[in-house]
């Protein structure tokens, strides 16, 4: 268990600068996700932490100890790979034993620890199986167990759920999160799937083009993104343009927006007179009982897509502006219907 710190870590491949001075601190026991599109540098960052790549510049500190140029086998990490990377010529037992043997742990303790960790990942009885005899989800759990059985100070996960089917992926999110919490290990998780990052993480690091765009809790990243790009990457978005009419000290602002006057929330940098773009998440819109919602508009239903547990509705409001709303599945309307929608000021976020 330890704290991890990256100080101005830079990395280039040829002429391409893949990491541009990454600064990041991960607290002891924290679950941090590196989220971004492919090629943003998230995997390279993880590989620098693991020791498979060495930064051109900057430091990587484990509990204050500089391990920037240290070989991976001397870093005390556990890593889960996208391909699982289970040794195909070894049984589950031997796969788990590998790291313990490298640490010269005597046989009885090896056995005890393997049994413990197999219990944790619910694979007791699979000791003698070969990886090819296991399902994808089971292989995934063996990979997790193999990384955890050595009791590393940091657990690194490189898109571990990318190769699983959708239903299993959902289960495994909670499984991994739960396991990480029980063990209390510092974890760094690389993913391009925003919903994965939101469900699992204590904090999310959004990366674009080799730079950190924003660091924050899942709720901050989702509700208070720092830029349009982050907003779009993290979820479905409506953007409303407008001019700030007035501003209160608590950040509440009055906006003259294209769709009409709306109440919104703005960061400290926004002041009256600014032209801003606001984020309105489709899922923060309501119909029916609108009591207490600062913003209410008549709208016309354009089309409805049934998603199972909800409906995705295209609406026109305020004289021809199309916006997307995610509403409960019991929303009963047909295209052409006039409805009333509302959303609170807290859910309209002026992008800085």
């Amino acid at each position: 268990m330890s704290e991890l710190r990256l100080n101005a870590v830079r990395k280039r491949f040829g002429n391409l600068e893949v990491l541009k001075a990454i600064d990041l601190t991960v607290a002891n026991g924290e679950f941090v996700s590196l989220l971004g599109p492919s090629g943003c540098g998230k995997t390279t960052t993880l590989r620098c932490i693991a020791g498979f790549e060495f930064p051109a510049d900057g430091q990587i500190l484990f509990d204050g100890v500089d391990l920037t140029q240290t070989a991976p086998e001397k870093r005390d990490i556990g890593m889960v790979f996208q391909s699982y990377a289970l040794f195909p010529h070894l049984t589950v037992q031997e796969n788990l034993s590998f790291g313990l043997e490298m640490r010269n742990i005597p046989e009885p303790e090896r056995k005890r620890r393997i049994a413990d960790v197999l219990g944790m990942v619910q694979l007791v009885g699979f000791e003698e199986r070969f990886p090819r005899e296991l399902s994808g989800g089971q292989q995934q759990r063996v990979a997790l167990a193999r990384a955890l059985v050595i009791e590393p100070s940091v657990l690194l996960l490189d898109e571990p759920l990318a190769n699983l089917d959708a239903a299993l992926r959902d289960d495994m999110r909670f499984f991994i999160r739960d396991l990480q919490q029980r063990v209390g290990i510092t974890a760094i998780y690389v993913t391009h799937d925003q919903s994965e990052a939101i469900v699992m993480s204590d904090r999310i690091v959004v990366m674009f083009d080799g730079e950190i765009a924003q660091v924050g809790s899942p709720k901050e990243i989702h509700d208070r993104p720092i830029s349009k790009r982050v907003a779009e990457f993290v979820g479905k978005s409506n953007f409303l343009k407008g001019k700030v009419e007035s501003r209160r000290t608590d950040g509440a602002v009055m906006l003259a927006a294209e769709i009409g006057p709306i109440h919104a929330t703005a960061p400290a940098t926004t002041s009256a007179g600014d032209t801003v773009e606001c984020l309105l998440r489709p899922e923060s819109m309501r119909t029916g009982a609108l009591d207490g919602l600062e913003n209410q508009f008549p709208a016309r239903v354009e089309d409805i897509i049934f998603l199972g547990n909800s409906v995705s509705v295209h609406l026109t409001i305020g004289g021809g502006h199309r916006i997307l709303a995610l509403l409960p599945a019991d929303f009963l309307a047909v295209p052409g219907d006039e409805v009333h929608i509302g959303f609170s000021a807290a859910n309209v976020w002026c992008l800085p």
Binding site: F52, A71, P72, E73, F81, R132, R146
Partner: protein, 264 residues
């Protein structure tokens, strides 16, 4: 039950191919059991007399010993260097990979007789000539090397590098990773390569003919010499023995390293 005509044709075809491949081998074994004086079919009777003749022939027994020794050394040397060369070529050569690969395979592309003549000239130029069997041994290594190189290369080509990274992340040094992860996983390629190397070395003629040391000869060359003057079933007995030796080589490999591990 209705029979599928396509399946029937396939079966007939497969049987035909097997007969085509196996008939000469079976015929040779039958001929070697001939009790008559000549290498003719049908055989006159069944006996082991020509195997007895072979056993009592010093030339043949020496040739078998030489062939075995040369093949064993060639397999060993090609096995080690072919494997190392393949690892370097696939893993570390980067931009030079294509050129290096072609270079390593050159002995397969150049006619064997040219390799033999060139090596013969070379051996005389450095003053060793064919006084010893060293030229013969070098020639065999040159020819068998590409087989190991190719087989190990293809095993490495399909190798998931994250397995090695996983090993490192679990605390294994690069050397330990090679020993515990890489080598066991490319083992099928190494075994197949060595098997090829052994069989090819046991079988090649041109290089052996030109480079054999004075007073030594390999089995194929001895057979050729023999058949020029004598046409009795000793030749068939030798061939049978050669087939059996190859089978034994495969069985030994199977016993110690397991052809079963070729199945993944």
């Amino acid at each position: 039950m209705r029979r599928d005509p396509g399946k029937l044709i396939l079966n007939v075809f497969v049987i035909a191919v097997y007969i085509f491949l196996m008939a000469p081998i079976v015929l040779i074994v039958i001929l070697s059991l001939n009790s008559g004086e000549f290498l003719l079919f049908p055989i006159e009777g069944v006996s082991l007399r020509w195997f007895g003749a072979l056993w009592n022939s010093r030339q043949f027994m020496d040739a078998i010993g030489t062939s075995f020794q040369v093949a064993a050394i060639s397999t060993f040397v090609s096995g080690i260097f072919g494997t190392l060369a393949a690892i370097y070529c696939i893993r570390f050569a980067h931009r030079m990979r294509g050129a290096l690969r072609l270079f390593m395979m050159a002995p397969l592309l150049i006619p064997e007789i040219l390799t033999a003549i060139a090596l013969l000239f070379f051996m005389y130029q450095i003053g060793i000539g064919t006084r010893y069997s060293i030229g013969l041994q070098i020639g065999h290594i040159i020819v068998t090397f590409p087989y190991v190189f190719l087989n190990v290369s293809s095993a490495l080509f399909n190798f998931d590098k994250s397995l090695e990274e996983a090993s490192r992340s679990l605390g294994a040094s690069p050397l330990m990773t090679f020993r515990r992860v890489t080598l066991p996983l490319i083992k099928p390629g190494v075994i197949t390569g060595c098997l090829f190397a052994f069989i090819i070395s046991f079988d090649i003629f041109n290089i052996s003919l030109l480079l054999k040391g004075i007073g030594t000869t390999t089995l194929p060359v001895q057979l050729f010499d023999y058949l020029r003057w004598d046409f009795d079933p000793t030749a068939a007995a030798v061939s049978s023995l050669s087939i059996i030796m190859t089978l034994i080589a495969i069985l030994i490999f199977d016993r110690f390293v397991g052809l079963r591990s070729l199945r993944f």
